[in-house]
Symmetry: C2
Subunit: 247 residues, 2 copies
DNA sequence: GTGGTATATCTGGGATCCGAAATGCGACCA
DNA sequence: TGGTCGCATTTCGGATCCCAGATATACCAC
């Protein structure tokens, strides 16, 4: 291992499996066999079990005593609730950020906002299918980057942690979505909302920023719901064989 | 073990330790030795370690690789943030509850509200010190019961889970507080706010219920802050010897 | 042929063992 | 006398082993 800083194998493995789950590489419902994972990562079952315990506490997998763990499935209601929670948390973070954002941070925010707008524009210019899907990862990351700046400015680590945890519930599937011209308006609206939020932050309008942030997250749910409908109302399939995690 | 339903030792132990932490029995900063815990619970270190992993994921303890785990300390800022988060979550839950509460549930809510009001009144009638402290546990439980009804009515399991998790950060210390006549007004205000929330729910005023719930949680922070000042600005001490968990 | 039961096998939970990292203490040297 | 190096002890992370619970399968009775 070319590991410099402190970390246990259990932690490393948990992160890899977590990434595999949220990216959709591991389908919800997949049963995770401890022995299989142990030989995949070339470790014994002990760190595997500790990693799984951690993921269970995070709600990403569910333990059934003596019957193994499986990747947690998320229903439409749970997805909706996760968005409602994130809407409240984002509203709070954005409200606080409005009171303390500096010019430097505003400039940084504008940069990531424009990057997001550009990617969003590129996305809409592409035809649906693989061409579009290939930039969805960038789109998701740029979107996260915008909100991450706000979290950092707000300086509320607990809010940030919870919001990101909530975000993990649904950021994966979007990456696999093929896209469709009918929702291009929603993508454009999303980018526009980012601009409005930044302007409210620049104006120091905490009440306005709060309301805009809340609406933004809630309307993002509409976007994701539409995306999910395109893939048949169920979860997108991973490309490679399931239950195989890259070490 | 007189265990009927499914559960692993790691889960059982995690719950016991968690209870010990949130109740203040285990002081923040305490170093938890795996071997000591294993002989306390009469199990090997394996389930202990898995339990600690779970608690670490929940943020109750922090792992330092090769140097053990210690009970997480919580600063005043973190406490404040936890309350802000809970305020948002309670606001959301109460808003939703207002749209779907039934007469039966309203009656139940009124019952627990009155129980809380009664305990609150008893509390204020007592002199500070042990006499008052002996009912603080009842006061905390009755308070939780009121909010739990709202969570149940709202039917938002994620919100409920997060709010309760946030609540755990600070419900413990209040139990050990000796109390003081100077904050009797805050106790009374708390009970009064419960009444206002119930009335808003009865009226089906979701916007009003939301605002009242938010204010209620935020003003509860003022109450707890005052309580904490009484114990010298630091955390109250447990009564029995630290690092001993009842099995 | 079908249903139930017994058994074999598989998998996960827990115990024990081993190696490694970190701390503490003591001895030796400047 | 003070500081540093090194060894011993402690404690953790990881591996291996064992046992119990669960599922699947085969066999037998009806």
């Amino acid at each position: 291992m070319t590991q410099v800083l402190d970390s246990t194998k259990a932690d490393d493995i948990a992160l890899v499996i977590e990434e595999a789950i949220v990216s959709g590489e591991l389908e919800p419902g997949t049963v995770l066999r401890q022995e299989q994972l142990s030989e995949q990562f070339n470790v014994s079952r002990t760190p595997i079990r500790e990693a799984l315990r951690r993921l269970a506490a995070l709600g990403l997998v569910s333990f059934v005593p003596n019957r193994g763990v499986r990747v947690r499935t998320i229903s439409r209601e749970e997805l909706h609730e996760a968005f409602m929670v994130r809407a409240e948390l984002e509203a709070l973070a954005t409200e606080v950020a409005a009171t303390k954002i500096t010019p430097d941070e505003l400039a940084e925010l504008e940069a990531v906002e424009q990057r997001f707008a550009q990617i969003s524009k590129d996305l809409r210019a592409r035809e649906p299918g693989d061409a579009r899907r290939s930039v969805m990862g960038d789109w998701v990351r740029a979107n996260h980057a915008f909100h991450d700046v706000i979290y950092r400015v707000a300086g509320l680590p607990l809010v940030e942690q919870l919001a990101k945890s909530s975000r993990r519930s649904f950021s994966g599937p979007a990456v696999w979505a093929p896209g469709d011209h009918s929702i291009d308006g929603l993508y454009a609206k999303n980018a526009e909302q980012h601009r409005a939020i930044r302007q409210a932050l620049a104006a120091g309008s905490s009440a306005g920023a709060r309301a805009l942030a809340r609406d933004h997250v809630l309307s993002s749910f509409v976007l994701l719901e539409t995306i999910l409908e395109q893939v048949g109302g169920s979860w997108p399939q991973p490309k490679r064989a399931p239950a195989k995690v890259s070490a």
